[in-house]
Every structure is written in structure tokens, then in C-alpha cells.
């Protein structure tokens, strides 16, 4: 039985190896550079213009990436070992001019040849996000993740306002905002993304102005529409995280069902007078909204929104919990509120945590769940607390 060393020597003998300077010359003359390292290595730096195909996917993806078998290929990894195996595999696939770069990316860097972070921050961004760059859990890579992320805010109201401003300030690169309403003077007691001057303007446009004034890095996409069965899946598909800041049962169930079907995180918040709730639904990892409340209440048990009232400061707290959860999901740090419902009583100034578990028979994420929204009815039954609301 040959040892690893034997096999490596055997492959080395069959593969042409060139040093980093020769590789650089070949690259200048039109060779394609293929980086076969893993994503976390590439995140630390890459040769500009190199194509990244991790070693494990090389055979599967190369023919799509480089169609012409005559194209000269320079394969590199971190130190020059994996690239030997990669070059050998590509030769076997019929590529005629394949070399392995001896010394790998570390040799390239040591020789002073050009490399870059995949997407480096600009000097302006370094200053703007300096307090993030100082936190090891965020740092430059984390900031880049935020800049690359896209978040959809459903509702530019009490919950969406603080979320929009802080996510924009934190540098979330793409913020979508869905709302069909216009700014009304009764909104301004709590919806801090809008201003007195912008009363009568569409809420999405008003929010866009606020976000762009705060951070020009953010690409704001406005959706001046109501979510419905027809538009929800296409709309959500473009975003990484959905933040539910809506105000009625029909939309909450629609958001839940669409995020389960698309397998996207749904960061949930709700408020009532002095009390708020927040949780993070990650489909199939934890419960969904229907695990907790399988169906909305009958209409006769749900009063209208306008009667409810809300302490103007309350949505700030809940919307910020949602925004914080969203940023954590993007950064991949900490412990999200998955399977935990956080309740907040502003009068008592008390936070409590309730354990939520998946319902094995859940109509939306259980075994008999539908695969489309076609047969689900979304009837608005008001915005408050079913069965429990006192008139």
C-alpha cells in the first residue's frame, strides 16, 4: 500500500511545477489562475483576477468555468501541495497545459507579488466603521459581510424605523423596504425614520431619504406595495434576512409561510401598548410562527388596530432587538433568539424569556406542509391580540 508521501511524489513527477515568478509571467501572458483553497483561506486574501474553485469542487466545476481545454491553467493553493493534486486531476480531465504553482499563495505573497483582500474596505469605510473593525468578532471580514448583506424590512413604521436607521448605520449594504402607506402626522410619535417635513410622502421614499442621508454605502430598494401571495416569494428571494415589522395577522402569516418555503430567517417583533415580543424564526432549525399559533384568531375576537395605542418609545426597544438579531445572523456570531420568545414589559421594566419548541404537526413546517402558498388563505383579522383584547 503506497503512503501519502509516495502518492504525492508520484503526482509531483507527473505534474509540471513552476515557481511564483514564472506563474506571474504565465498569468500576464493569458493563463487562467485557479485558486483551489477553501473559502476561509480566500477571505484572507487572493491573487487579483484568480478564479476560485475549492479543491473539492474542482473536477465538477472546471468545465463550466474554463471550456477550452487548450487554455493554459496555473493552479495554486496555500503552499503548493493541494495544487499538485488539482493540476493532476485537470490533466486527467484533458486540459493540456496545466501547471502547479510551487510555494502557493504564501510564496506569492512572500515574493511581493500583488494580492488583495477579496473586497477591501475603502479608507472612508475604514474610518466610518472603525468601531466595528476594533471588535474581533466583527473586524474587516465581518464589516464586509454586513456590506454584502441584504435585509428586507417589512413595514417602515415603528419597528422598521429604528431597524432601518441602525442597520444602515452599521453598514448593511442593501436595505429593502416594503410599505404602501404615506407618512401621517400620527406616525411621528414613534416612527423616527420619518419627519414632519415629509408628512404626505410615501413611507418608503421618506425612509430612503433618511437612510441615504445617514450612510451613502447603503443601497436602498423601495417596494411601494402591499405584500400578497403573488409578490411575496419573488420579493423575499432577493434578500438574506426578512425583518417582520408589520401590524396585522394576514401579513404576519404570509411572511412566516413565505420565509419557511424559501428557508430564510424571519426576525419577528410585535408590540402592544407597553408590551413587546421578539423572536427569530429560522425555518426547520427552530419553530416557526405557526408552531406557536397555528391559525389566526377568528375575526370577531380581534379588534381593530387604531384602538390599541402604543407607547411611542416601545417600538424603539423591540425594533432594535430585531435589528441586533439581524446583524448577528449576518455576522454569524452569538446566540440568536431561535426557539426563545423574549417578552418585554416597559411598565415593569422586565424582560422574560419563554422557550418555544417546534410543533411536530405544524401546518407550515411539519411533515404535511404545503409547498406553495396557492391554497392558503390570508384574511386580515385585525392587528391586535385575539381572544384577549379588551374593548
Amino acid at each position: 500500500m503506497p503512503s501519502y508521501q509516495d502518492i504525492l511524489e508520484q503526482k509531483r513527477a507527473a505534474v509540471r511545477e513552476v515557481d511564483v515568478r514564472q506563474s506571474a509571467r504565465m498569468y500576464e501572458e493569458g493563463a487562467v489562475l485557479i485558486d483551489v483553497r477553501e473559502q476561509d483561506e480566500v477571505d484572507q486574501g487572493i491573487i487579483p483576477g484568480a478564479m476560485h474553485i475549492p479543491r473539492g469542487y474542482l473536477e465538477m466545476r472546471i468545465e463550466e468555468a474554463v471550456r477550452d481545454h487548450e487554455t493554459p491553467l496555473v493552479i495554486y493553493c496555500a503552499g503548493g501541495v493541494r495544487s499538485v493534486f488539482g493540476a493532476e486531476a485537470l490533466t486527467e480531465l484533458g486540459y493540456r497545459d496545466v501547471v502547479s504553482m510551487a510555494g502557493g499563495f504564501s510564496g506569492w505573497k512572500a515574493a511581493g507579488l500583488p494580492w488583495r483582500h477579496p473586497q477591501a474596505l475603502t479608507p472612508d469605510q475604514r474610518r466610518r466603521y472603525s468601531r466595528h473593525l476594533l471588535i474581533p468578532e466583527v473586524g474587516e471580514l465581518g464589516q464586509q459581510k454586513l456590506l454584502d448583506a441584504s435585509v428586507l424590512l417589512v413595514g417602515a413604521g415603528g419597528l422598521g424605523s429604528p431597524a432601518a436607521l441602525y442597520l444602515a448605520a452599521a453598514g448593511v449594504g442593501t436595505l429593502g423596504i416594503v410599505d404602501a402607506d404615506v407618512v401621517d402626522d400620527s406616525n411621528l410619535q414613534r416612527q423616527i425614520v420619518h419627519t414632519t417635513e415629509r408628512i404626505g410622502m410615501s413611507k418608503v421614499e421618506s425612509a430612503r431619504l433618511a437612510v441615504e442621508a445617514l450612510n451613502p454605502d447603503v443601497n436602498v430598494i423601495t417596494h411601494e406595495t402591499r405584500l400578497d401571495k403573488e409578490n411575496v416569494l419573488d420579493l423575499f428571494a432577493r434578500y438574506d434576512v426578512i425583518l417582520d415589522g408589520t401590524d396585522n395577522f394576514a401579513t404576519r402569516y404570509l411572511i412566516n409561510d413565505a420565509t419557511v418555503l424559501l428557508n430564510k430567517p424571519n426576525v419577528h417583533g410585535s408590540i402592544f401598548r407597553f408590551e413587546g415580543q421578539a423572536t427569530t424564526f429560522i425555518p426547520h432549525e427552530g419553530p416557526c410562527y405557526r408552531c406557536l399559533f397555528p391559525t389566526p384568531p377568528p375575526p370577531e375576537l380581534a379588534p381593530s388596530c387604531a384602538e390599541a395605542g402604543v407607547l411611542g418609545l416601545l417600538p424603539g426597544t423591540i425594533g432594535m432587538i430585531q435589528a441586533t438579531e439581524t446583524a448577528k445572523l449576518i455576522l454569524g456570531i452569538g446566540t440568536p433568539l431561535v426557539g426563545r420568545l423574549l417578552t418585554y414589559d416597559a411598565l415593569e421594566m422586565e424582560f422574560r424569556e419563554l422557550q418555544l419548541s417546534r410543533d411536530p404537526q405544524c401546518p407550515m413546517c411539519g411533515p404535511d406542509a404545503p409547498t406553495t402558498l396557492d391554497d392558503i388563505e390570508y384574511t386580515d383579522v385585525g392587528c391586535l391580540i385575539p381572544a384577549l383584547a379588551v374593548h
Binding site: G157, G160, D181, T246, D247, P315, P386
Partner: protein
């Protein structure tokens, strides 16, 4: 009115109209069902909000004991010990987009 050997029931804001504004009410009961029954007797009108005509807990109301959903324990038969805390969590659609 707080007693050390009672069950502490946290009343969500929309139900406080029934409890004279009280956020926390103490009752006695050996099970969740008994405690909720005691609550309903103490505060007329509250019972119908929590239970349907057949006396079943409404499906859009969740009841927690010390942070755990009773549906994951033994439902209304879940046993209680003095000092336990019952949380009543209604579905709150109330957000604030409008």
C-alpha cells in the same frame, strides 16, 4: 396581595382590563388548569378569553410555566409547585407599520 405559597400569574397588557390593571396576580392551584380556573373565578370574563366553549385552552393562546410551554409538558394537567410562575402569551399581531 402577594403570597409566597401561591402561583404567580403574569397578566399580559390586553388582559389587565379584567384584573384592575394588575400585571401580576397570585392564585392557588395544583395544576395549570386549576390555577387558570381560580383566575377565571377571581376575575369574571377572563375565562372566556382563555378557553373556548368546550373548556379547551384556545389555540392562539400559549401558557407557560416557568418559561416552558405547557403544550410541551402536560397541558392544563401540568403540575404546579408553590412559587411557580405562569405566563400567558397571546398572539400579538400588533406591530406598527401603519
Amino acid at each position: 396581595m402577594s403570597t409566597d405559597d401561591g402561583i404567580h400569574v403574569l397578566i399580559p397588557t390586553p388582559l389587565r382590563g379584567f384584573t384592575g390593571g394588575e400585571a401580576r396576580v397570585d392564585v392557588h392551584g395544583g395544576t395549570v388548569g386549576e390555577a387558570l380556573e381560580a383566575l377565571a373565578v377571581k376575575f369574571p370574563g377572563l375565562g372566556e378569553r382563555l378557553h373556548d366553549e368546550d373548556g379547551q385552552l384556545r389555540r392562539f393562546v400559549n401558557v407557560f410555566v416557568n418559561g416552558q410551554n405547557v403544550r410541551d409538558i402536560a397541558g392544563t394537567a401540568t403540575e404546579l409547585s408553590p412559587g411557580d410562575e405562569i405566563g400567558i402569551i397571546p398572539a400579538m399581531a400588533g406591530g406598527d407599520a401603519s
